[in-house]
Symmetry: none
Subunit: 193 residues, 4 copies
DNA sequence: GATGAATGAGAGTTCATTCAT
DNA sequence: GATGAATGAACTCTCATTCAT
């Protein structure tokens, strides 16, 4: 479980990462933003890496939830992917800072522990998406002339780039609305026939 | 244009970024790797930002070359995209360090000059890809039930994610060969009919 | 207002300036002299400029005190000037390092913030001296055949040069005693009739 | 004697000192301003100190000339002082950079060779001024109720402060014209009766 | 005379972290 | 839980100077 302070630290850390990038996440900035002293943070997290790990944990949890909920529901694969997209967009719209985490692989380099965790998150998500696609192919919804892997790369790649463009734009368009449109296009691309 | 030393510095800088991420690109590391003193670097580049700008320049130049060559050739749009992909894969295969640059947006945050240049590179490339796709739609090669923008996001997004996966794997598969396969899938996805 | 450490830093900085000139005031020298690490200083002052500003502040405050005390007392203008001189000499005798500050205009060039503050100090002092002289002319103590501005330049200029000579001599004569003699001469020079 | 290049280096050095203070006189700035490489300067001066010494030499020579010319002329002491002032003002008006040198004592600290030379210049000038004043007292032109030393401090101090004010103002008033007025005041101050 | 390339020493500053209180 | 004070390591960058050419 997480104490209030821990949650606060995670939130502010996310905010800082989002606003100034990873380089902007320093213990000084963090403590200043929270309004406590630097050493105080060490009461709640052993060190900076633990904070980053906690952030990744939060991200992983919320992502896995989305993915798994879809996987175990009884709707069609297409609907699952649709929900997947939609819920992600929803999540980012509510907390744009999360976007930074999704693209943080490059940033956490150098810390093996972090690298591992990130790889884990990505792997898990990818494998779930692939399962859904496979299911869609089996049910005849999704085209079979393209391998699961390639479809997954396409779907996930589109999602990622789209979100990145949104971030780059300064969140100036409505990711939910525009996302729904992109979603329709992706559905057209991967549907059978 | 560039002196030998400048080129060497750029190369080594790229290598360092690739190996240890941006945080690994310090003037000390750079000078140590090259085998000269830190101040010596300042004879060849005014400051660190200039080195990063030079890297982005190299990347932009070589990318633009690829893109523009395609744009002005008389082949079909599909072939153009095919070449585009192929050449990029080729380039990355020969110099894996370049991959880091393609995903460097997050890393260069904080330096407005760099941000601007990156945005510029991305913008230019995106607009060229869109032109090719539009041409493909007009010639009937590429499906018209999906907007140019969405097709571009899909194509570019797939490429990016694929390259990232390759990097993440530690360059353990042949990006040229596997890339050609992904390429075929993408072609299937976007082709008319 | 100021913590003990801050005061210590200011004192040691002044001492360093006095001993080796501005070029001798480095963060390294400062920390070494105090007996703490370089970064430790940054806990007490944001940067070097803030230290210099604090020094100027100390100087300004103590000077302004002297000047204003005189201005509002009910003694004659001549006596005021006398006190002014005397107190300055007293101050320098107790803390010769302060002399360096009085002549620091040239040294702080390049830092606009510092330049401004110095100009401010000088301006304020000059205007107070002029007020006193004007008062002395109105009361008939001070000669009227010479303008206030010129008398101020003469009085202040003599004081400054005298102090500089004292500094240059390595503080080898008693500035209080010799200063009193110079003071008598200046009084003769500016008195009416 | 001095080569053309040496003279050029001295001139540019003076200009730099004047514009940005001593801290602005770096070998890099110097070479950039002249339009040659840094090592090239070392062809003409052994090191930076030699350049500063040369500057002081120039200053000393031109000052001594002024002083000595006056000393050996057959005019009155008052006229001599008048000429002294006037010629100095003339000199500064033509080359404001020289002002920086006159107040450079503080800046050259740390280099014993330079300190010594500066002390020498100041001493020589002071002793000449005192000679003139003494002569004026003997001839009855200058008041005798004040010691030569004190009169010298007053005269020289006024001159110095006035020039400094001119410099501080950004050379915004005519030092020759305003200087002449100050001169008249000083004459009034020191004249007998 | 001049240059390009290089250097050791040192500048100010920031970082994550620790310790006594 | 929290703080003020401190630190070692590392950062980018500048300095006067040298050396081979």
């Amino acid at each position: 479980m997480k104490t209030e302070r821990q949650q606060e630290i995670i939130d502010v850390a996310l905010k800082l990462i989002n606003e100034k990038g990873i380089q902007g996440l320093t213990m000084k900035n963090l403590s200043k933003e929270i309004g406590i002293s630097e050493p105080a943070i060490y009461r709640h997290f052993e060190n900076k890496i633990e904070i980053l790990l906690a952030i990744l944990d939060v991200f992983r949890e919320s992502t896995r939830e989305i993915f798994e909920k879809e996987l175990n529901s009884s709707i069609t694969a297409t609907e699952k992917i649709e929900h997947l997209f939609t819920r992600h967009f929803e999540r980012f719209a509510n907390n744009p800072s999360l976007v930074s985490v999704i693209f943080s692989e490059e940033l956490f380099r150098g810390e093996p522990v972090l690298m591992e965790k990130i790889a884990d998150v990505i792997d898990k998500n990818a494998s779930i998406l692939k399962q859904i696609i496979k299911q869609g192919q089996q049910s005849g919804e999704i085209r079979m002339d393209i391998s699961v892997d390639h479809l997954a790369v396409t779907v996930m790649g589109s999602l990622r780039l789209f979100v990145k463009i949104w971030q780059f734009s300064g969140y100036r368009f409505d990711i939910r609305e525009d996302g729904k449109r992109l979603l329709n296009s992706v559905k057209l691309l991967i549907q059978a026939n």
